[in-house]
Symmetry: C2
């Protein structure tokens, strides 16, 4: 059967999603758990190849294996086998042709920026702290230039392995961006003052969201104008964009099929 899983992970202690020799990866942990359950060698396919340190609340994967138990039991068994920083939140049987990566219509990522003077130890694993005041309106104006089908070579990182869509080029379609202030209660009693950036696209280039965030931060601090941001988008040259924002603020929220 073809099994589809929704997977949540804390990326802090992983060298990214994709299997590599001799390091701890999410795909590697998932394959180890599924193989123990199925008693056979299994390839787990993921919708998004998140980098080291990037989290996921709604990663989607699938695998083919000869398992007889119902999906709910697969979920329970995998959660017992997986380490504490990976969890399966949903398991379903899907048609044989379902492919977590190629069937995906879009991916939604969110990046959290903690604002204010004081950094937080308890939010440090999941946010980027920026004490410089940020001009949210300018960042919103600039982010509008991302929308649509364009060549995003300016935001393409030096990723390993195969790209998220099959063609290998740097043209992608950004479907929506959303930038807003959020005041959130935390488990720890304090209210966090945050800025959330959400980007949805058909597929992403390696480090694309983090390169966009890094460049938008330069707009927020006034180092770049919105007009200059537009030129960065149009330059199709990685050297035009700003530094890559750190991994820990980023989370793969949802994959749409």
């Amino acid at each position: 059967v073809n099994v589809r899983l929704e997977v949540e992970y804390d990326g802090t202690a992983f060298c990214g999603f994709q299997v590599q020799a001799n390091v701890r990866t999410v795909q590697g942990e998932l394959e180890k758990a599924v193989e123990r359950l199925a008693g056979e060698k299994v390839r787990v396919i993921g919708a998004g190849r998140t980098d080291a340190g990037v989290h996921a609340a709604g990663q989607v994967v699938n695998f083919h294996a000869s398992l007889r138990m119902p999906p709910a039991e697969v979920m329970r068994a995998l959660n017992a086998l997986l380490p504490y920083d990976v969890a399966v939140s949903e398991a379903t049987k899907v048609p044989e042709e379902f492919h977590a990566r190629f069937s995906a219509r879009s991916r939604l990522y969110r990046y959290w920026i903690l604002t204010g003077d004081i950094r937080s130890a308890l939010l440090a694993r999941y946010t980027l702290h920026k004490s410089v005041p940020l001009n949210l309106e300018a960042m919103q104006d600039a982010s509008a230039y991302l929308i649509g089908r364009q060549d995003f070579a300016s935001f393409a990182g030096m990723g390993r392995g195969v790209p998220e869509n099959a063609d290998g080029g740097t043209v992608r379609t950004v479907l929506q961006t959303r930038l807003e202030r959020a005041q959130m209660p935390t488990l720890f009693g304090m209210q966090a003052q945050l800025i959330a950036l959400q980007v949805e696209a058909d597929a992403f280039l390696p480090q694309m969201v983090r390169n966009i965030v890094g460049t938008l931060l330069d707009v927020g601090t006034g180092k770049l104008s919105t007009e200059e941001f537009r030129h960065v988008v149009q330059a199709r040259d990685r050297r035009a964009a700003s530094a890559t924002a750190p991994a820990q603020g980023l989370c793969l929220i949802k994959v749409n099929y």
Copy 2:
């Protein structure tokens, strides 16, 4: 001058608050940072000696040093010197006689339990997951027996070092307990279904909150009646109570002076 700091930390990567040889502790990191700033050997005194893995949003410490800069600058400098998982959220000059531990009137701790079938990878560092349904009303009824000045020997762990109050006995005053369901938004898009236990006491014995939580969980699952919980409190014998709940669900929220 005598400087008072409010300190936040993620306890995951610490062997507790209190300095010990050859391991990473919160007190050790604070003393290293303050010593670099002050250029002299400094003892940092903490209000609560949290165990390995226990977090703090509002730990209070103080230290005596000959520093000339204003407290806001002390805070900024310390945040630049401290590792990512410790942060200073407030710094003030206080009278010479202020002592973070002995001047404290009470400490407030919170313990988070994640409920529901499915564990969470992204909340695993800060919650205990319990998939068994819990009878909250029974736990609330039982927790009422904790209120007041009593001998809490049943909940006393094998702590190292000096106790939080000077007398060394096992009598403490629990001022309030609060147990409630909470649905919280998370940074990761999903809503978390949680139970929070808050306990405020003049001072705590080593592992007292975690031993209370462990025993209340047995009330929640029906293994102990509220009446039996009362007997545990009155037994003054550690062997009467249940297993110690794991550290990661616990956070020192506030110290009152």
